[in-house]
């Protein structure tokens, strides 16, 4: 079976995507699902901004505002930013290291479907009696007193999608350690691969605490536990520690791949080798380590005492050093380069000052005594949106334009892309810059309204106008996607013409086997080296031979559906008698399918040498 024997049509395509284990198709699934949740989270943000546009507004009720705020944070972190980054990791990392797929294609698919059903479960809460309303952190003291099933949706949904994220993280670790092409040493890996590697390591160590934390919360809420109930000897502060032991590394899980994306874009369009490659790698690893030593800076005001606060304050400020190294390296990469201001490059240039501002307010917040003033004000909201939007979302949008031709074979329209950038950039600063001052003036975060005459009116109105601009920018991007899909022209392997890493050496979109012959990597930026020597393609590391491919499978989808069903059973088991049986049925589906997977031998198939010779596209061709 090769590409030639594929059926076309709507339902065959759907079936193809439901069963696919191909990293490039899973990347597209991540992009679609992550994009959908990004839009949902964005709509929730806009509703909140409309509520806060004028004082004493009653556009939404206080309860609904809490739900919007909780779901905005949860959706954007777990269901939008992480999966969108996974989309690019899936699309690009195997190509960048010269591999034919990830190490465990089946698990890759399972990771996606677990994330997807977890996300769907969480969002169904809107239609089944109210969304979670305890904040994206779900602090135990708030979560345990939240009536209804909202927080249960949060607990069970995140448990399922967290499994998916953990599985995907482990998959990337194994892929990057084991599947690199000959010559691709660690110190020749592109920076996006490096940051993916470190971020996956962080996932490996950070997600188990989250799983434990929300599992304990689940026992407290659904099964009569009292881990966090002080009245019965529990301790609510422990939840905060466990959450932030996860929560702070999570910030780096998001921002390190973003750094990686910009470290790919800047050398490409400055047409210069990345400045200080070794120090970039060192800084990435160092940030990963330091990320685990700073979590208590989220808890300065809980009463840890001056010594603990001082230790965590100093540790937090230390992170500024490797991050500063990175910022200067990006600047020095651009310095003296022959820069092309394409859409991705505009995002990269806009990212540096925006992210540095977020970093500076981060150092301000890290000063524990000052934090007593900033805590729980809009200053904090402004800070983390500068870091996450100015860093991660800019990177996601930049990567969308940068790798779109590689993923879909068509260039996004540059004019529309630049309009998106200008609208989003202006809208972003309009929304969040003023929030620093609202915070310093004393406006608390997570409140659904404010009184007039306190000096908050104009600032909030400006903020809302900015949010609308960001919304328009996203609509322009979606129009761009539709226009490109309908009208766009097919592009070749290296549409930006200055590609440096291996992904630009294969056709766009790449054939299912990626590389006809595994390439030989002769240094950092392998494609650039070959180009400089006047070669058209990469040097192959092996003779042309049959390629072993994994079979598609529907089992990951069914395993995930089982957990989705079981989650409903667990949630309603105190209310209805069908709860326990439904949970059992769900688990039987999941574990039964896992059992089937274990006993059925599936050896995959081969693409034969003769078919490869007939297939002129792809392989090691520029």
């Amino acid at each position: 079976m090769s590409t030639l024997a594929r059926k076309k049509g709507f339902w065959p395509t759907v079936w193809d995507y439901l069963t696919t284990v191909d990293h490039k198709k899973i990347a597209i699934l991540y992009l679609i699902a992550g994009g959908l949740f990004f839009v949902i989270g964005g709509i929730e943000a806009l509703l909140m901004r409309i509520q806060l546009a004028i004082p004493e507004n009653d556009f939404v009720s206080a309860g609904t505002f809490n739900e919007l705020m909780t779901m905005h944070g949860t959706t954007m972190i777990f269901l939008a930013a992480t999966p969108l980054l996974f989309a690019y990791m899936n699309a690009v990392v195997p190509l960048q290291i010269g591999a034919r797929d990830v190490a465990f294609p089946f698990l890759n698919s399972l990771g996606f479907w677990l994330f997807f059903f977890g996300g769907v479960f969480l969002n169904l809460s809107w239609f089944l009696g109210g969304a979670p309303d305890a904040g994206w952190t779900a602090y135990a003291s708030v979560a345990l007193n939240s009536p209804g099933h909202g927080v249960d949706f949060y607990i069970l949904g995140l448990q399922i999608s967290g499994l998916g994220t953990l599985i995907s993280g482990i998959n990337f670790l194994v892929t990057i350690i084991n599947m690199r092409a000959p010559g691709m040493t660690y110190m020749r890996m592109p920076l996006f691969t490096w940051t993916t590697f470190v971020a996956s390591g962080l996932i490996l160590f950070a997600f188990p605490p989250l799983t434990v934390g929300i599992a304990l919360l689940m026992f407290d809420r659904l099964f009569g536990g009292n881990f966090f109930n002080p009245a019965l000897g529990g301790n609510t502060i422990i939840y905060e520690h466990i959450f932030w032991i996860f929560g702070h590394p999570e910030v780096y899980i998001l921002v390190l791949p973003a750094f990686g994306i910009f470290s790919e874009i800047i050398p490409t369009f400055a047409r210069k080798r990345l400045f200080g490659y070794t120090s970039m790698v060192f800084a990435t690893v160092l940030i990963g380590f330091l990320g685990f030593m700073v979590w208590a800076h989220h808890m300065f005001t809980t009463g840890l005492g001056p010594i603990a606060n001082a230790i965590f304050a100093v540790a937090t400020m230390t992170i500024g050093v490797p991050t500063g190294i990175k910022v200067f390296n990006w600047l020095f990469t651009m310095w003296g380069g022959s820069i092309r201001f394409t859409t991705p490059m505009l995002y990269a240039v806009g990212f540096i000052p925006s992210f540095v501002m977020g970093g500076v307010t981060g150092v301000m917040l890290a000063a524990a005594p000052a934090d007593y003033q900033y805590h729980d004000t809009y200053f904090v909201v402004a800070h983390f949106h500068y870091v996450i939007v100015g860093g991660v979302v800019f990177a996601i949008l930049a990567a969308a334009h940068y790798w779109w031709p590689k993923m879909f074979g068509k260039m996004l329209n540059e004019t529309l892309g630049k309009i998106t950038f200008v609208l989003f950039f202006i809208g972003f600063h309009l929304t969040f810059f003023i929030q620093h001052f609202l915070g310093l003036m004393g406006m608390p975060r997570r409140v659904f309204t404010f009184l007039s005459g306190q000096g908050f009116d104009t600032g909030n109105l400006i903020s809302t106008i900015g949010a609308v601009l960001m919304g328009i920018a996203v609509v322009v991007l979606l129009i761009n996607v539709v226009v490109t899909s309908v009208k766009g022209e097919k592009v070749g392997a290296d549409p930006w013409e200055d590609g440096r890493s291996l992904e630009w050496a294969v056709a766009s979109p790449p054939p299912e086997y990626n590389f006809k012959q595994t390439p030989l990597v002769r240094g950092l930026d392998p494609l650039w080296i070959e180009k400089m020597e006047g070669k058209k393609g990469l040097t192959p590391a092996e003779p042309l031979s049959d390629i072993h491919m994994p079979n598609s499978s529907i089992l990951p989808f069914i395993i995930s559906i089982g957990l989705f069903i079981a989650a409903f059973g667990l949630m309603y088991h105190n209310d209805y008698s069908w709860g326990v049986p439904v949970a059992i049925i769900g688990f039987i589906i999941t574990f039964g399918t896992m059992f089937l997977r274990s006993i059925i031998d599936d050896h995959g198939y081969h693409i034969h040498k003769e078919d490869l010779l007939k297939d002129d596209n792809g392989g090691v061709q520029a």
Binding site: I177, G201, L204, F205, P209, N235, I237, I238, H241, I245, F289, F292, M293, A296, G303, L304, G305, A308
Partner: protein, 109 residues
């Protein structure tokens, strides 16, 4: 290792024998040390002259040394090609240690 060598009959047998003998020596030495450490641990618990507060950290220290012997000599982590697992094991120990340390020192009850 075995499969790699079984493919090649011309492998330097003398060298391998020397290598194996050396490894055996290491294993015997570390085994003897481990038994000795275990005896020390028993004596520590049995001896009344030492304070409880000293006994517990001392035995935990002995246990850590035993785990390192186990991993490096008996599970061959000292061989080449184990850098990846070593890195992740030590990172995991580091993260766990930090967490436990923080919980023991700054979480108020």
């Amino acid at each position: 290792m075995v499969s790699e060598n079984s493919r090649n009959p011309k492998v330097d047998l003398a060298f391998r024998r020397k290598k194996n003998a050396e490894e055996m020596k290491h294993q015997v030495v570390s085994f003897a040390l481990m038994i000795f450490l275990t005896i020390v641990a028993f004596i520590t618990v049995g001896y009344d002259g030492i304070d409880e507060w000293l006994k517990v950290p001392f035995i935990v220290l002995l246990a850590c040394i035993q785990v390192i012997f186990q991993l490096y000599y008996f599970m061959h982590m000292n061989h080449k090609g184990h850098e990846g697992p070593q890195f992740f094991i030590w990172s995991g120990i580091f993260v766990t240690f930090l967490t436990v340390l923080a919980f023991m020192t700054i979480v108020w009850w």
